[in-house]
Amino acid sequence: MTKVHKLEYPLMLSSNVGSNNIHMLPRGTVLYFDKSYPEGFTRYKVYVNIDRTPLKLEELADPTEIDPIDAAVPSKEDLLKLLSDYPLTKGDLESILNSNRLSKEDIKEVFGKYIR
């Protein structure tokens, strides 16, 4: 049976292609469980509809090859960058703060920079 998770908070995206811009996987995205690895990461599938944009396809030389991108919960430093450079909604911000991946000290430090 397929197991899924609906994202409760947005995740930061990164790939082999460097970028100065922030890219995020939005809250509410459904992740389809694929496989976990001994290293400690889990791979999920995301289905994407691309509307009326035919894309050129090529054969995958090795049918077993999978080339994923990375997604991670925003860290303290990411949150600082998000607040200054990204159109973060109030809901997104609340969900990140409720993710339990940032300590109270981290949150105090981030908002200490805004509340003077």
């Binding site: 197991k3 998770h5 990164s14 790939s15 082999n16 292609v17 460097g18 970028s19 469980f33 496989k35 976990s36 690895y37 001994p38 290293e39 400690g40 990461f41 889990t42 791979r43 090795d62 077993t64 090859e65 999978i66 080339d67 994923p68 990375d70 860290s75 430093e77 990411d78 991946r101």
Partner: protein, 231 residues
């Protein structure tokens, strides 16, 4: 020379602590970090484990973490790009392990700064032959694709960590051969895959490494640190 002192005249050293003792006290540490089994969110248990190496000198504190953090290939996803993540501080690395409810055992060995640097230099050599992945690097870690690909049976997290640790601790894996027991950890299918590859001539499984480092056959660590819960 203090005024009034004659050339070549002996002076008394008033340092309260012995200089000889200071020179003999290790100034750096090499931590072999062995992550145990964990159960993923689908309920599947992963018994293979994960190994990383922390090198802590007076100048730096880096954790080297090698794995399939990129393109993955093979019927069982057993191989892929050899990705080395170099964590600039230990906390984010170990927090990630603890979140998995995986127990990480850190075997800590006292060394001198120049010996710790030998382990780091080993990794730096691999990094120079590889390529920096700026898109996946951030304030917490630098990410590199090494020239050699990863394979679950080696080169993997354990063989690379041991190769680097051996630069500082030449006898670190001496006597480990008899602990190379894949049947303790691998599933039947994985063992078949190992057999088809001709077996593994050296210890490559984190769980086997854990048993070896805990044994009386291994170099005695300065101390053993335990992080997280779990097996």
């Amino acid at each position: 020379m203090p005024s009034g002192q004659k050339p070549f005249e002996a002076t008394t050293n008033n340092t309260p602590k012995s200089i000889a003792n200071d020179k003999l006290k290790p100034t750096a540490e090499v931590h072999i970090l062995v992550g145990g089994a964990y159960t993923d969110s689908s309920g599947e248990e992963h018994r293979y484990g994960h190994t990383a190496l922390r090198v802590k000198t007076r100048m730096s504190d880096l954790t080297y973490d090698f794995g399939r953090y990129g393109k993955v290939t093979g019927t069982f996803g057993e191989s892929g790009d050899g990705i080395l993540r170099v964590w600039r501080s230990f906390q984010p690395y170990i927090s990630g392990e603890v979140v998995l409810q995986r127990k990480t055992t850190g075997f800590v060995y006292g060394v001198f700064d120049h010996e710790g640097d030998l382990s780091s230099s080993y990794f730096n050599g691999l990094i120079r032959s590889g390529s920096f992945i700026g898109g996946k690097s951030n304030h917490q870690k630098n990410v590199y694709r090494l020239a050699a690909d990863y394979h679950a049976l080696g080169p993997n997290c354990t063989t690379l960590s041991l190769d680097a640790a051996r630069q500082a601790l030449p006898k670190i894996d001496q006597g480990s051969e008899k602990y190379n027991k894949p049947e303790d950890v691998l599933t039947f299918t994985e063992r078949l895959a190992l057999k088809s590859k001709g077996g593994a001539p050296r210890l490559f499984l984190p769980a086997n490494l854990l048993k070896f480092l805990h044994s009386g056959d291994a170099v005695k660590p300065l101390r053993v640190d335990v992080y997280g819960t779990g097996k």
